[in-house]
Amino acid sequence: MLKLHQMHTFTYLEWVSRVRVNTQAVLKRAQSIQGQKLPKKQWQSAWLLKAVTCIDLTTLSGDDTPSNVHRLCMKAIQPVRHDLLRKMDMHDKGISTAAVCVYPSRVADAVRSLKAANSSIPVASVATGFPAGQTPLESRLQEVRSAVNDGATEIDIVINRMLALTGQWEAMFNEIRLFREACGDAHMKTILAVGELETLSNVYKASMVAMMAGSDFIKTSTGKEAVNATYPVAIVMLRAIRDYFLCTGHKVGFKPAGGIRTAQESLVWLTLIKEELGSEWLHPHLFRLGASSLLADIERQIYHEVTGQYAALHELPMA
């Protein structure tokens, strides 16, 4: 592999388009990750709290209104019951979710709720014709600008799958560059929609192109495709992140999203990141979990660890 800085972007794109990934080997690796022993006892609690601080607490529904967005923001500020945190001596360690993630039209509501609660939790907005990305470029760019104007400091853009599937990597690179400019100072997370990219090789290529075009994070899926965040896909994306780091020295973050519902799964995700990239990636500025119902399960697990009893759903505050 050639060093990025020695090459013209075009040659590099040329190289990216020839990369191949061995599916069977990746599947085997995914299996071995899932078979690993997970942390127990206080290690489990600590890891679960880490997962909480990496969650982008998300609501992306047609029926979102200011009131349920408000509830979500309040849950983001206090994700785990205060008395449970106190028992672990974690109540004053600033445990909150990493961000709140909403549609562009709800950004203003979320910003207002969080501001009223004196919270600095960032608001993330999906944009660029989420989830399909099949709207004109100009309107996609406009979406990004308006979300940023409304106070979103993180933008989750979706890539144009048409360009990826037809191998127009340079065009995709240019499009993402435009989004990057429109984001301004806001963090940009690029959603690859892996469920629609057909092959793992395409996932690797799309990851590389997205990082080269200036993404702060690469994200697996919108949560709206048939297949979302799976471990094999994640392995390929994490390896791309590692390769990009080896070439440029630049660390890009990773965000799996869609279908992550249980505390157990969140522990597997943390294990995977730790194994592939190391502990320094286990931090909200380099790792996020896109989820809505995951938090409730994590809170139940923590309840069990702290009290030794299983919680009924109604014993824990809803989002």
């Binding site: 080997a25 942390p39 590692r242 080896l246 502990s279």
Partner: protein, 739 residues
Amino acid sequence: MAGPTTETVFNIFRSMDSGPAAPSSAATAQAWLDHHSHSLGFFIDGKFVHLAERRSLSVVDSKGGQVCGVLCAEEADVSHCAASAVSGFKSWSLLSCYQRAKVLLRLVGVLGLHAQCLSELAQLCVTACSPPSLIRLLQFYSSWAQLRDTLLSGWTPLGVVAVVTSDVSSVYSLMLKVLPALAMGNAVIVVPGRSVAPPALLMAQLFSGAGLPAGVLNVLTGSDVTLGVKVAQNPNICYVTYSGSKPDGLALVQASAGMGVPVSVSPCIGATCPFIIFESADINSAVDEVIEAAFKKKSEVHWVLCVQESVCENVVDRLKLRLAGLKCVSLQSEADRSLVDTAVQEAQQQGATLIQSCSAPPSGPLYPPTVLCGAAPASPCVVSPAPGPLLPLMTFRCHKEAVAVGDHSPHGLATSIWTEDLTLALETAKNLSVGSVWVNSHSVVDPCLPVCAHKDGGSCTDGGQEGLYQFLRPSVSSPPIRSSAVPLDYSKFGTEVSPAVIPDPASSPPSYLQFVGGKACKSVSGCSVAVQSPGGGGVLGLCPEGGRKDVRNAVEAALKVQPGWQKKTPSARALSLHALAKGVEAKRQDLATSLHTQTGVSMDEAEKEVELSITRLALWAAYCDKVQGGSLPMPKSGSALSFPEALGVVGVVLPDESPLLSMVTLLGAAIASGNAVVMVPSQKHPLPTIAFIQVNGQLLSRAGQGQGQGRGRVGAGAGQGQGRGRVGAGQGQGRAGAG
């Protein structure tokens, strides 16, 4: 430092440590050991036999603590056990295929219930054991038990089979021998290595719980190889098969040579396997897998990483990152630690650079996963690897060199190659001289895969249909005759001088020559041996007295021509065999006369043997293009292909009976599949063989085979050749069946 119980959530939250591994429980296994008062007897005739007066050996766990004691079997126990196995064989072989299959299948259920106990016990004894893989073995061989008479008609079980393993082998490799033996209808005496003894005894107990008749599966414990030899000496044993380390295997073969009991060995432990990464590989996957192969799995082999020069830097960068998080690997003992330290120092002195997950702890049986960059085939860490998590890394320039570097070792067990290029993968796999090639994967094992290592990798095919033939003989053949052990002095072997032949001008028998490298020649020593006529009435002729150097010359000649012979098209080989048949046909009268005068059979019978020999040669000619591999039904994803390959140079020691027919049978099988042959005719009846060679000399020199002849001696060298010959014939679906 904070202990595990006092570590605060906040500290872990910051460090993201994984915490201590949950202590593994061994309660079930301990209960079983308690039940046996931590002293395990032999398993004979369906029950434990505990003799207080026997010496006891202790089995220790990874920390050196005593797990339990096993008894040391003596001569009397061996005969007791063999007698029970003989009666076990009677009842087991009388059952129908369906009934035998049912017993094996029932064990699947029994094993499911007691898997916890078995894996705990194996863990205590520091042996590898995975119940799911044992269940797969049972299912695979229970269906073979069912199908024996359908798919292997004309084959019959051997009788009592001894399975010997060395101290470190896994339960899987033990059962890979035991189960096919049982499935084919044999009774088995297991001589397990010390650490695998307790799990083997438990398995035997579970088997009898599943309804295996008493005496069919017996376990004798003791010091493995010495006891193995004692068992092999018992006249009731029909076949000995061994799995484990190479020195022990060699000792077993030497000690049991000349007793008339076939011994085959699979020295799979301690072999070196190359892990080859080409520039066209998915390098990230390859790096992950080599780490798994070399450091994570409890592996019985040593890996050597070979990387194409153009991507070496990439591989090293990724190895550094991926190794960073790994914990130290526990070694077998303190002694191993000093061996590892020495090996690393030696490598560093020779300029190797280290990639380590962390620096090595000052002492103790722990060592971090370590890659030794800059190793070469001549480095001590490659030639004689230390027992620890060390992975030498070598580079190669081109595809051809990858094969050369990977192949240039005495081990021929397996290789893992990594490339996304299909053509390259297939070509490399074909050119490598190893038993298994894993493409973009490693350590794939399954009973459906026949494994037959090349070079020092043993004399035995295990697994697949091919692996079954070692436990069978053709129904038409008679069981081999046992001879009593002859003490052999290997330092003098092959150099004895035979009694001089006193010239007798009155008779002046004709003298014959041996045939090496296409030429008729005398023996190197110049000595001859007289061939007696059947009644003992007189000397029929003088044969050269072959010795050590004759064998060397013959092997050398055969080695030279074998690759060319193997590369010939199957139809070209078939034509040669047909020509041999034609040659015999043309001289049928001469050959029949030679048989008649040599063995004393009637002319009628001699003519019949010649006739049969002609058909036999035609049969092998027909097989030339019918010996085929194919795809194998792997239960996991991915596909498996098998390609039949010639063994190389095959040593054949001919029996006294039916000298012509037995010769063409073995010769035909070997050369039909592309081998060259070094053949030793029967010492008693060499003349028909010589007559055949005289008839067909011209043809044979083209087919390229050497023939040393004279007094047939069976020793370690020839013994191994013989074993391989048998496997070769097995692959060709036939054996020396004279009749």
